[in-house]
Amino acid sequence: MDIEQKQADLIDYFVKQAHNHKEESLPNVIVEATSNSSLFAFSEILAVPNITQLRGTKYSVFVDVLQLFAHGTWSDYKKNVERLPPMVPDQIRKLKQLSVLTFAETNKVLPYDKLMQELDVSNVRELEDFLINECMYSGIVRGKLDQLRRCFEVQFAAGRDLRPEQLENMIRTLESWSTSSDNLLVSIQDKIKWADTKSEMNKKHQKDVEDRMEAAKKSS
């Protein structure tokens, strides 16, 4: 949640910039936003009318860039490299950081080999340096590097901008979590009731035994 706090001001700033700039200077705003080292969310900027109105103009491709940073990965960029404008190093780094967040959405354990392939990194040292300096130390990801199993175990990853189709899955997960919690609480209640009942029965049985012993002593 730290990430959201840190980037809230930046989002406001770039949204204002997008509102206030004319069409010709919006590409610069987009490049600046996608190069900023502390910004990892772009939905708000994408939603600005000035930006959406770039579609169909000669600057339409910059909306695609913004879309890529909102939802896409480094691989997506490589597949469309001819169509899209060239990226500055800060943008490339940002896109690779965002790619790691996307991988972490579906898997908690990220194999080194897959990461090296997806991020165009040639060796483990370079990969680990990237994960340490650009991902963990920038606060977007928390996890542990496992050299023996050659993987990165993710404990926390910042959320990326959501695609509409992801919403349903999220709601289902939340409902499932809520249901599991409710069921567990019911289960615990049952166990408490069972324990109480058992305890009562034991006490009663104990008393019966003691009463019979007393009666036996008296009669003898």
Binding site: V124, L145, L148
Partner: protein, 288 residues
């Protein structure tokens, strides 16, 4: 005796003016402060002990300085002389620093940096002096052995607003956040250090090297579940076997949790918290 005392003091003054600190100190140490024949007042004795210690410290002679500061420590508790008391504290801190008792030195420097009075006796305490004391506290803490005690002092310093204005703040921040320090940062830090803080140790590492390697090792333990000796060596900038040795010492001294597999040549950094305890630690997730 009175005349000898005066001569010695005058000669010491001359030596001081020529920056021959140790000679000045030797001249003054010839004054018999403990003689039963003459009654010298406690304040005078204290001032001489502190003065001699300060002179020896100008030549980084911790051994002789300590001898006189130890004498002074019997006198300082009864002293009402604020300037002398302050000078005593500063000497003590510097001696600990020279003897590489860095954490203790840091605490004493920090206490000095928190002096509120801006005038003590005739001496004006300027902000720069306090800043120097604070910087010295930070430096010594960074050089101290990595572990829980140092972490506590680091936290205190990091949360002290004054530190954020120091030139040394960026490295303090990284050390506090347990982040790996890279060579350019270490080299920049090294430029601000004094000779004894970069001195060579028996194991062929300097004081600074050892502090940085141990810090980086601890930082690595936060990032890795396990790491090979070779990669660890590469990360720390030292030979793999040396990395293993330093790691094993830190584990043995309980300054780092882990185990070493010499067969596979791996270090495993352990968080041996019980499973259910780990699960409980995630309770904050429910709050979120």
């Amino acid at each position: 005796d009175e005349q000898v005392l005066i001569i010695r003091e005058k000669l010491a003054e001359l030596y001081e003016s020529e920056e021959e600190w140790s000679r000045a100190a030797q001249m003054l140490s010839g004054i018999d402060l403990d003689s039963g024949i003459r009654m010298l007042d406690e304040a005078y004795k204290l001032s001489k002990c502190v003065q001699i210690a300060r002179l020896y410290l100008e030549d980084d002679d911790a051994v002789n300085a300590e001898a006189f500061i130890n004498k002074a420590s019997f006198l300082v508790s009864n002293s009402q002389h604020e300037v002398l008391n302050l000078q005593y504290k500063v000497c003590y801190a510097r001696i600990l620093d020279l003897k590489r008792k860095f954490l203790e030195a840091a605490l004493r420097y920090y206490a000095i940096s928190q002096i509120e009075k801006r005038q003590i006796g005739d001496e004006l305490i300027d902000e720069e002096a306090l800043e120097q004391a604070l910087t010295a506290a930070v430096t010594c803490t960074i050089l101290a052995a990595a572990g829980p005690q140092r972490s506590r002092v680091l936290a205190t310093l990091y949360k002290d607003e004054r530190c954020s204005k120091l030139k040394i703040y960026p490295i303090l921040q990284k050390v506090y956040l347990e982040r790996i320090l890279r060579k350019p940062e270490i080299d920049a830090f090294a430029e601000e250090l004094r000779a004894h803080q970069k001195a060579l140790l028996p194991d062929n590492f300097t004081v600074l090297d050892r502090a940085m390697i141990e810090h980086n090792l601890l930082s690595a333990s936060k990032l890795y579940t396990n790491i090979s000796f070779e990669e660890l060596g590469a990360l720390l900038g030292i030979a793999p076997l040396k990395a293993e040795k330093i790691a094993s010492r830190m584990i043995y001294e309980d300054r780092m949790r882990g185990s070493i597999d010499q067969v596979e040549a791996f270090i495993h950094f352990e968080d041996d918290t019980e499973e259910l305890q780990q699960w409980d630690q995630q309770a904050s997730l429910l709050n979120l």
